[in-house]
Amino acid sequence: MTVLKTMVAMLLRLGLLWPVVTWAVDMDTSLVMTGQWAFGTDSGSTQTMNGTLQPEIGFSFADGWRFNTSLRLRSEASDGMQPGDTERDAYSPYSKPALLHKTTELALREFFLQGQIGDTLLTIGKQQVVWGKADGLKVLDIVDPQSFREFILEEFDDSRIPLWTLNIERQIGNWDWQLLWIPDPTFHAIPKQGATYAFTSPELVPVAPPGVAVSLENPKRPERPFRDSDVGLRVATFWRGWDITFNYLYQYDNLPVLRQRLTLTGREPAVTITPEYERTHVLGTTFSTAVGDWVIRGEMGYFSRKFFIGMDPTRHHGVVKSPHLHYVLGLDWNGPSNLLFSGQLIQSWMLKHTTRSTRDRLDTTLTLLMRRLFLYDTLTAEVLIIANLNHGDGIVRPKLRYQWLDHLDIWLGADLFFGDRDGVFGQFGNNDRVLAGFESAF
């Protein structure tokens, strides 16, 4: 913390923060350091060994406004997990992390001004916006894209990619309105082929027949600054014990459509894949309530169109287009002695399609989280199980986390994949790992 304060003092001396500080009535700083080592039990070698530094500075002003900024410096020692192993073309120029070295990147995680004008709260700048009620997987938490550098194994707060956003919130009667304008065409960051968590499932990437060369073109990105913005609206209320939201998002889907073109190079067939981003309208709702020891929660998203991988690469460029319904129903039970059981049913429907896709029309996933707190909430033991019923694949994630000191957490865990190698989870069947890590925050 002293280091951070010294840095701020140096910036002050240089005059760089002077205009901000002269108005600020309060300043808070923090620094979070994390380190994690994971050992691949199948590979018999280190899968990842990384460290991050996340300094944060906030200024509060006399009129209630505040300015917050945070950076993340991350370094990764293992091949296949380094910053360059993830598609960087997914980022807009003004959200792309700086690659300082093959192993190290620096990202701006927050940079926003927040305050009220009358009864309207404005948050302007780079920020995270989170919708939805689901745990472990995402249905409506799609406003911001995410990095799949470690598939879905990273904490969502770390993997979510903050976007430059104008976020306007206002309470009108019993309803909370949130309006979003996001002029930041940044999309999911997908690992490159050959990376440790590169997608290989036929549901996610086209698989060329043996002997057919595949070439991947640069993605076609939306480039009109205003017309290609995403916009969103959420209204939320608390009605007779129920938390209810209605959501609308007009966005470019965060996953690219992988259009395929079959050509002949000499006598050899070849497939050229062109990633393109497509618009979709998303209508959604979420709800939750508590009944005794139980919490019932759910969310649903209807996507006006979604693009899936087709079985036949020669039809519609190997793409199947369909409206899509995605929903989750969850049930949490809080037992005695800080015991939590949480189950979810997640289903995804392709509502209409004319050609066959590599995935089933109805895809069903179940999740179960068991968690218990011990030692006055300083020790958390949990197991998360995610199982896809279509492929019989999934992941088991046991974890022990201990708050050793106020400023130091340590953890031990494992990520164990199982099932069909063509499944979304089973594709990483060789990536089982045990891990240990720490987080120190000041």
Binding site: D26, S30, L31, V32, S60, R66, Q114, L121, Q128, V130, G132, K133, E155, F156, D157, E169, Q171, D176, A236, F238, G241, D243, S288, T289, A290, V291, G292, D293, W294, V295, R297, D332, N334, P336, S337, N338, Y376, D377, T378, Q403, D406, H407, D409, E439, A441, F442
Partner: protein, 268 residues
């Protein structure tokens, strides 16, 4: 006869005035007076929570708390401000007067950036790593009228102050199991009708914990404990809540008790 006269004389000199010389008030009367004591319509306060293990290792949380009554409905918000690892965590409760109406509770965890609906915890569960149960936190300095049969069992003193001993026995085994106590013995200051000490016994009748309400001063005319200490006799674990900047007249805004406020956090 001489003995009787001597006893009467002794009683007259030992208890020269006030209630002590007369019949002690009933348990229900004491409970009623405690609950009638002015708590203010709303309050804002800084609470430092110190949790100390038997080994001496201490965890400290700085929080900002708000409470406001809407008729008989009570709304409470706690914002955690430090340490950094839990900064931004916030807890909101709507506590309804009807016993059949479960409290509504929400927790905001900054790591998830989501407001989570949580079920009304079992009343006997411990509150966020402290030695207080959710029911202890909910009652603050009041007492539950419906959960216990009460008897005044004598007089004592706590921290040098005279008090009445109020014995509380759960109305049923089921309630005892919900609360985690088979008996609660409170030492009630009969000048200001505030509990100064509470001793709890577990379901097996063993001493479980003792709570002391200390540094009781008037703030804006309202008697307010500025230190609440509890020790768990079974584990040796202790929790101290230190209150500062208690303000009953600050004008706590309604928008503090909303899910949006949970997410945004609180800043001075």
């Amino acid at each position: 006869m001489n003995t009787l006269l001597a006893l009467l004389a002794a009683t007259f000199f030992i208890f020269p005035d006030g209630a002590s010389g007369t019949e002690l008030p009933s348990g229900d009367e004491i409970a009623r007076r405690i609950n009638e004591r002015d708590e203010g319509l709303a309050v804002s306060r800084q609470v430092t929570m110190e949790m100390t293990e038997a080994s001496g290792k201490t965890r400290i949380r700085e929080t900002q708390g708000f409470r406001k009554y809407y008729g008989k409905e009570k709304r409470t918000m706690i914002f955690y401000q430090s340490p950094r690892s839990i900064r931004g965590t916030a807890f909101l409760t709507y506590d309804y007067p009807e016993p059949e109406h479960d409290d509504d509770q929400w927790l905001y965890l900054p790591a998830l950036r989501k407001v989570r609906r949580i079920s009304a915890a079992d009343r006997g569960d411990y509150f966020l790593g402290t030695d207080f149960t959710y029911e202890d936190i909910k009652l603050e300095t009041r007492v539950s009228l419906k959960d216990y049969h009460r008897n005044t069992v004598g007089e004592s003193e706590a921290d040098g102050v005279h008090c009445l001993l109020l014995e509380n026995l759960p109305v049923s085994q089921e309630i005892a199991e919900e609360l985690g106590y088979s008996k609660v013995l409170q030492c009630v200051d009969d000048r200001i009708w505030m509990v100064r000490r509470a001793q709890m016994w577990d379901l097996k009748g063993q001493p479980l914990k003792t709570i002391h309400f200390r540094d009781i001063r008037q703030v804006q005319g309202i008697w307010t404990p500025h230190l609440i200490e509890v020790v768990n006799h079974k584990t040796g674990h202790r929790t101290r809540f230190r209150f500062a900047n208690v303000d009953y007249q600050a004008g706590v805004e309604d928008r503090i008790f909303t899910q949006n406020a949970l997410k945004r956090g609180w800043r001075r």
